[in-house]
């Protein structure tokens, strides 16, 4: 699959880059890291224009993110409302919205370029918690432009071995995601077993809540 996509990229250039980034940002698992590094290598060899790649790539990723946000805001929010009406949890939803309002910007920004695998989930959850769209767009655009510039330039610098670099970056990203999630969860579990407090998975209430 990735071989075919990269072959199309090599053959048709930036329109394919735009299309793949839209669907990847919307949540379809395509090998975007390898693609951006390969694009950087094509730029280094004079087969693609750097500015065209940066502009079209950023636009593609931003458009894809808006699709995820709109899905969350429309269908996702309706689904959550239906569930909370039946089984309760309206208060939890309100706390989640408040939490999103407070920390959403950082989450959106860092999930664009540092912990990329979380990006599509953050898009949908931002829509579900009705995170203000202008702020979502601002953080999203900043993060996506940084991601595109960073990866294309890395591909441009290490242009003779993009597959090895993609493997390395992919693994490092997952290590970062795993360390972040394990640290947060590990801290909650540790506190529970040490102090006897209940572990809370509620996003709006800090690390743990007294029983």
């Amino acid at each position: 699959m990735s071989d075919q996509l990269l072959a199309w990229l090599s053959l048709y250039g930036v329109p394919v880059l735009f299309g793949i980034l839209v669907v990847t940002a919307a949540g379809v698992p395509f090998p975007d890291t390898l693609m951006l590094l390969a694009v950087g290598s094509f730029v280094a060899q004079g087969e693609m224009s750097l500015w065209q790649v940066l502009i079209v790539g950023s636009l593609g990723a931003i458009v894809g993110d808006q699709i995820g946000y709109c899905l969350g805001l429309g269908a996702g929010r309706r689904l959550v409302r239906r569930i909370t009406n039946r089984v309760g949890g309206t208060e939890t939803m309100k706390r989640a919205e408040a939490f999103g309002e407070r920390w959403g910007g950082a989450g959106i920004f860092f999930s664009r370029w540092l912990v990329g695998p979380l990006g599509p989930w953050i898009n949908v959850s931002s829509g579900i918690t009705a995170y203000p769209w202008p702020r979502f767009l601002l953080w999203d655009a900043l993060g996506e432009v940084l991601w595109i510039v960073l990866y294309v330039m890395l591909g441009r610098i290490f242009n003779d071995r993009v597959e090895a670099l993609a493997d390395l970056l992919g693994n490092l990203t997952w290590v970062l995601v795993g360390v972040t999630a394990a640290t947060v969860l590990g801290w909650k579990v540790f506190r529970h077993f040490r102090t006897g407090q209940a572990v809370s998975i509620d996003p709006g209430d800090g690390l743990a809540q007294p029983n």
Binding site: L6, S10, A38, D160, R161, N171, V179, H192, A198, I201
Partner: protein, 129 residues
């Protein structure tokens, strides 16, 4: 007996234990990926040449293996000017060859374009081997 089990099940605080289980799973996954990352770093240091893939074009392979592009174009029976931007899998299809054949042809040409073999002259000065 049955009511004791039901009561225990109802009063058992499963959430912390579920949290611990998920934490252990996450820690295992992270360790696995860290080993993969370390392996990638070792591979990065040990190999400069990338495996030849169908998405690469002749220019990329020549650049990655640091050989003159015309050597590879000649080996595939393609004109070297203007540079052919098509991916290798498209070239393979046009030439009714498998990717393995294309890979073997290119690797053979690369070996003969690197020391201890003398580099072939560019086409304007003579025929490449």
């Amino acid at each position: 007996m049955r009511s004791t089990i039901i009561r225990t099940a109802r009063t058992f605080r499963w959430l912390p234990w579920l949290g611990l289980a998920v934490f252990l799973l996450l820690a295992g996954f992270t360790a696995f990926k860290a080993v993969d990352a370390a392996r990638s770093v070792i591979y990065w240091h040990a190999h400069r040449d990338e495996p030849i893939r169908g998405w690469m074009n002749v220019g990329y392979v020549a650049h990655s293996y640091r050989v003159p592009p015309h050597v590879l174009y000649l080996a595939l029976g393609l004109p070297h000017q203007p540079p052919d931007r098509r991916p290798l899998r498209v070239i393979a299809k046009m030439q009714h060859r498998s990717m393995n054949e294309i890979r073997a042809i290119l690797q053979n040409a690369i070996v003969h374009a690197r020391p201890p073999y003398p580099p072939p002259p560019p086409p304007s000065e003579g025929r490449a081997p």
